[in-house]
């Protein structure tokens, strides 16, 4: 069978190098941590930064076309005859590589200051570099198995980093939870790969996509659904989202890089990468779009009821990824990837800004014990303010363009209900983000840290750099609709897939939908202002926040009972099964079998032992008896046979 390639085959040493440099950083930091000391952070950032430079230099290779092939394809070897693996750098993976290495570089650099004085300084940077390598494996792989390998490795890296402070039992529990839930997704992906291999006899993206037209639509739906299980677990979609808020136990740079900017968006990458499968299957599109929209709404609602600054941001991440999943699900691939791209900047900025606050206030994360911080930490305030304006979609900021494209995409591809849900979510997003900003930065300070110590330049500079793209990159790349630089960049990648989806022109234009969304954003902002920032609310802010804590509806306190449901449906039965095996099956059946073997072996031994009298004459008698038996046998029985 001829192999179909997505990229132009050739030798691309730059792509190989940008893939392996972070791995070298991980190995060096791991092996020479004690010798490197604080140099570990500089080394890791330098290698991730070098990887970013190589990615930028590979721009030409990634966007080249030859016939139907797009991008760069580098063969590396084969798993089995006919099942090759290699690297593929096309516009889609290039965008992801930029974020992984670019935003990754800024966050690793920020960690030099944030992790200062930690006992396991070098170990942290080894894990971070390893994560970058794993994520690059995921997005650069040109086949499903390589993608799954990267998928599993980022899960491991995430496990290591959530549980980085393993002295804290809550961190260990969160790491374990994240890992176990992600393995559910890995199993789904593996099932999808089994289906693909059984029906197509190939694992390469190119082979599978070119054969997809001949598969029955039921089969394609099941492949998509099984792949989507992986995306649901990794990208924190309903109902497997519960690990993401808990994952905030890790250090804040980890939350920024892994649990906001890159790893959790792997599900979006997966669906966008498999666009040729999804585009021909309306059922799979509806499934993914619906799950994404429900997740967006649920995450936003839960975000309004949190007090921990990082958990607010975690639910916000869940909600934003819901948007992205919905967009790539309905077919607005460019919009979904654009939201990923801009979200990586402003969400990393939000987390790093929150990290500045947390670092300055001696690890205080409860917004009720903040307040009035804009006077104490003006830099952190401006960082948070610009990021909040970007995420809520204020016109001109980057989030405005990407979110608009996502929400309008629902109408464009004929899903008015999803459009309504996502527009409503935009309003709630404005409410909870401004709520965070008003409670933490406005009014009077309610905590007990006398002197907030200022973060060093290594922390401030990366955050300042992030402000530029999160404010301006939307206007630069996304404005102009069909002719925007972004649309032209992805025309060759997604054009055929988007054209394959049957859709009619929507009744209202993009300008009208962005007007509706912005009106809802203003309403959300007004409610947040009225509840937390108006002069009346500021006067007795402490009591009001306490009252809100007490009056929080139970359904929100219990986070829609998803954790409880998982506990009831899966964890408890698993524990009961374990208890059954532990108290009945293991002692009575397994141990019982072992004990029986021992009993009979001993019985047989006792029996045979009694023959060993130690008397030479007894042995002689037995010998004679045996010899006699032989003689008798050969003399009579054997002779009779002839």
């Amino acid at each position: 069978m001829p192999h179909h390639l997505l990229g132009v085959p050739g030798s691309y040493p730059l792509v190989e190098a940008l893939w392996l440099l972070p791995l070298a950083g991980a190995i060096l930091c791991w092996a020479f941590g004690p010798q490197l000391r604080t140099l570990a952070g500089w080394l890791a950032s330098a290698l991730v930064g070098a990887s970013f430079v190589l990615a930028a230099l590979s721009w030409g290779a990634a966007t080249q076309t030859a016939g139907a092939a797009l991008g760069a394809s580098q063969a590396l070897g084969s798993w089995l005859p006919g099942f090759d693996f290699g690297l593929l750098l096309d516009p889609l993976s290039l965008i992801w590589t930029f974020i992984i290495t670019g935003v990754g570089f800024l966050i690793v650099f920020y960690s030099i200051g944030y992790m200062e004085g930690d006992r396991a300084y070098a170990r942290f940077f080894a894990y971070m570099s390893f994560f970058v390598f794993a994520m690059l494996t995921l997005v650069l792989s040109d086949n499903w198995v390589g993608l799954l390998v990267g998928w599993g490795l980022v899960g491991v890296a995430s496990y290591f980093l959530i549980g980085f402070w393993f002295q804290r039992p809550s961190a260990v529990a969160a790491a374990r939870k994240a890992f176990v839930i992600n393995v559910v997704g890995d199993a789904g992906m593996m099932f999808a790969i089994f289906l693909i291999v059984a029906n197509v006899h190939a694992i390469g993206f190119g082979d599978v996509f070119s054969a997809a037209g001949g598969l029955s639509s039921t089969l394609v739906f099941w492949i998509c659904a099984a792949l989507f299980i992986g995306a649901v677990a990794k990208s924190a979609q309903i109902p497997l989202h519960t690990w993401l808020p808990d994952a905030m136990e890790g250090p804040t740079p980890v939350s920024a890089l892994i649990h906001a900017a890159t790893m959790v968006t792997a599900g979006v990458y997966l669906v966008a990468r498999s666009a040729p499968l999804w585009s021909h299957n309306p059922q799979a599109q509806v499934l993914v779009g619906t799950v994404g929209a429900i997740t967006a709404l649920t995450g936003a609602i839960l975000g309004t009821a949190q007090w921990d600054i990082k958990r607010i941001l975690a639910y916000s991440t869940m909600s934003q990824i819901g948007y992205m999943i919905m967009a790539v699900g309905v077919g607005a691939y460019e919009g979904g990837v654009a939201l990923f791209f801009t979200h990586a900047f402003f969400k990393a900025q939000l987390f790093l800004g929150a990290g500045l606050v947390i670092h300055a206030l001696n690890n205080e994360q409860d917004v009720r014990r903040m307040g009035g911080l804009w006077k104490k930490m003006p830099f952190a305030f401006w960082v948070m303010l610009t990021a909040v304006l970007a995420i809520t979609g204020v016109p001109g900021f980057s989030g405005f363009f990407s979110k608009d494209e996502v929400i309008f995409g629902d109408l464009q591809f004929g899903h008015p209900v999803l459009f309504a849900i996502s527009a409503l979510t935009a309003g709630i997003t404005a409410y909870y983000m401004f709520r965070l900003l008003f409670i933490a930065f406005f009014g009077e300070y309610r905590g007990d840290v006398d002197h907030a110590h200022a973060p060093g330049w290594t922390m401030n500079v990366p955050v300042a750099i992030l402000v530029a793209p999160s404010v301006a990159i939307g206007a630069a790349l996304l404005s102009g609709g069909e002719n925007s630089p972004w649309a032209r960049f992805f025309a060759a990648q997604f054009g055929p897939d988007m054209a394959a989806i049957a859709h009619r022109p929507p009744a209202i234009s993009e300008g009208v939908t962005s007007g509706i969304v912005f009106a809802l954003v203003l309403i959300g902002f007004a409610i947040a202002w009225w509840r937390y920032a108006s002069p009346g609310a500021q006067r007795d802010a402490g009591e009001r926040l306490e009252g809100e804590t007490r009056g929080m509806p139970a359904v929100l306190v219990h986070l829609f009972y998803v954790d409880d449901a998982i506990q009831l449906l899966f964890v408890r039965p698993a524990q009961r099964l374990g208890a059954f095996f532990g108290s009945i099956f293991d002692p009575h059946v397994i141990d019982g079998a072992v004990r029986d073997v021992v009993f009979w072996a001993r019985w047989l031994g006792t029996l045979v032992r009694s023959f060993q009298t130690g008397l030479v004459r007894a042995y002689a008698l037995i010998l004679v008896f045996g010899a006699t038996c032989f003689i008798v046998y050969y003399a009579f029985a054997a002779g009779a046979l002839h």
């Binding site: 060993q612 009298t613 130690g614 030479v616």
Partner: protein
């Protein structure tokens, strides 16, 4: 009456069974060794007799080998008896039961 092969076989069988009974019933290791020698010689007698019947020298050669092995066996047996019982007057193999399970 001519002496036929049957007579040799009969004599050898009698000698062999005397040896077997001797090994089984006697307690004195020296007598047991002698009984074993008796069995060897029963076998030797048959080798010689059948070599004569079939006119083949292999039987003679085997008899020599058996005599050699019997001498070696007697030497080892006597050495074991001496090391086991030492200079005692009364010897009984039933007293040696170190192999009892």
């Amino acid at each position: 009456m001519a002496v036929s092969i049957d007579h040799y076989v009969g004599l050898a069988a009698v000698m062999f069974f005397i040896g077997v009974i001797g090994v089984i019933v006697r307690c004195n290791p020296l007598v047991m060794l002698m009984s074993i020698e008796l069995m060897f010689n029963a076998a030797n007698l048959l080798f010689i007799a059948f070599a004569r019947v079939w006119l083949q020298n292999a039987g003679h050669i085997f008899a020599f080998l058996v005599i050699t092995v019997a001498a070696a066996e007697a030497a080892i047996g006597l050495a074991i008896i001496v090391t086991t019982f030492g200079p005692e007057r009364y010897v009984d193999v039933d007293d040696v039961r170190a192999l009892r399970g």
